[in-house]
Amino acid sequence: MNITDEKLIEELSNRFAQSRKAFSDLSVVNGKLLEMNERLERSEALKSNFLSNIRNEINNPLNAIIGLAGQLAIVGEGNKEITFLSSLIGAEANHLDFQLRNIFMAAELEAGEANPRCVKVHIATSLRDLVDSFRHTAAKKNVSLQLILPEYEDGALAAIDVEKFQIIISNLLSNAIEYSNVGGVVEVSISVGGDGCLQISVQDHGVGIAPEDQQRIFDRFVQLETGTTRSHLGHGLGLSITKTLVDLMQGSIKLDSSLGQGTRFTVILPPCSILEDEDSFSEAGNLFLFDNMSEA
């Protein structure tokens, strides 16, 4: 095929023009993206500051309400109505406390101030208390909670960050109850592996999660069913906090689920390498063998 020089030059200059245009389009888009990212960061910063400022102002009165509801129950013992009302106040305030703990933990994580603080605890007791605190919520839906502890490890001590452990398990439990069918069963089991890893699983037999949605549930503010008609409570923060906490504790979380069959979340937490009041990390936690330190 013969092409004249003029045609060749014309075609080439056309193509150059096209790529110049594409390039300038890209620069514009890139600029917009950067601008968007900055705006996002600014609003994130505003939100984080707000949360850390209001933390005490919310926590103090809430703790007072929880405490006073307990007092009221004691004072009004014998009076059916007072006992009923004070237990309602207590339950609602506890629910609010759980939600706020989540929000403040998210704020702490986003501020980069959440450090694992491990202490040795009696893990079975800790888990049993936690499960018991959800019996009231579960009873409302007629869901039964089963705690499965292997015989031998009753009495075993494990080094964990209790507060973070509680938040992780509370979120999984709360979800399992929320997404169970009425009259369903939620099973919580715990075991300690040979390498000292804690393995906790929370299993429900409820609606389940479709495979294509299984990654998305760990994102922030995601609830699979959205809109005003959604049938489940919550703000979609719980699982993103759970995931971030598990990451912070160098653990892992996985889920097995299929639609209509229920969901099982399994959390694996390695033993803490650093304990409160101990400086053991520098020896025990070294991941590498290092040459002599030099100054920079």
């Binding site: 996002l40 994130e44 991941l287 590498f288 040459d291 100054e295």
Partner: protein
């Protein structure tokens, strides 16, 4: 956490930030992660972050695991403990290519370094020392009062934070 009379030792976990008005010894262990130490040479106060990935993509929590967030938050924390931006200097460490591949997609270390350097330039903070890249992990220990950072290099290519 106040540091008081005795120097408090703080181990910095990946994705967290530490800065304190008192003298502290901040240490961390780095693989492909990058840690930026900021130090106010007038006030003699310091802080450190530990980023694992360059950019927050809007999914999950916006934690300082992501470089762009870790840099902003460390700077604002430094200002919060009384430092002045124009008195700050930076030292940058980590960003090793520990996976041993040269595939650009996996060069998280390099991308973390680029992000940290770009952000410091944007903040107009001078980088007075750095020990970045390579194939081995590092352990760093910073004294927040003197601004001195000790670096220990891994003896072999290692995986980790």
């Amino acid at each position: 956490m106040g540091c008081g009379e005795r120097i408090i030792k703080h181990f910095l976990f990946p994705g967290t930030i530490f800065a304190d008005p008192f003298e502290c010894q901040i240490s961390t262990v780095l693989g492909s992660c990058v840690a930026v130490c900021l130090w106010d040479h007038v006030l003699r106060r310091g802080g450190m972050n530990h980023m694992m990935l360059p950019f927050w993509n809007g999914e999950g929590l916006a934690t300082p695991k992501y470089g762009n967030i870790a840099m902003e938050k460390l700077l604002s924390k430094m200002l919060l403990i009384g430092c002045h931006r124009e008195h700050l200097v930076a030292k940058v460490f980590g960003g090793a290519n520990v996976s041993g591949t040269d595939l650009e997609l996996f060069m998280i270390g390099d991308r973390n370094i680029t992000l940290a350097m770009d952000m410091l330039e944007k903040f107009r903070i001078a980088v007075v020392a750095k020990d970045v890249g390579g194939r081995v992990g590092r352990k760093i220990i910073m004294n927040s009062e003197s601004g001195v950072v000790l670096v220990g290099k891994g003896r072999r290519a290692a995986s980790g934070g």
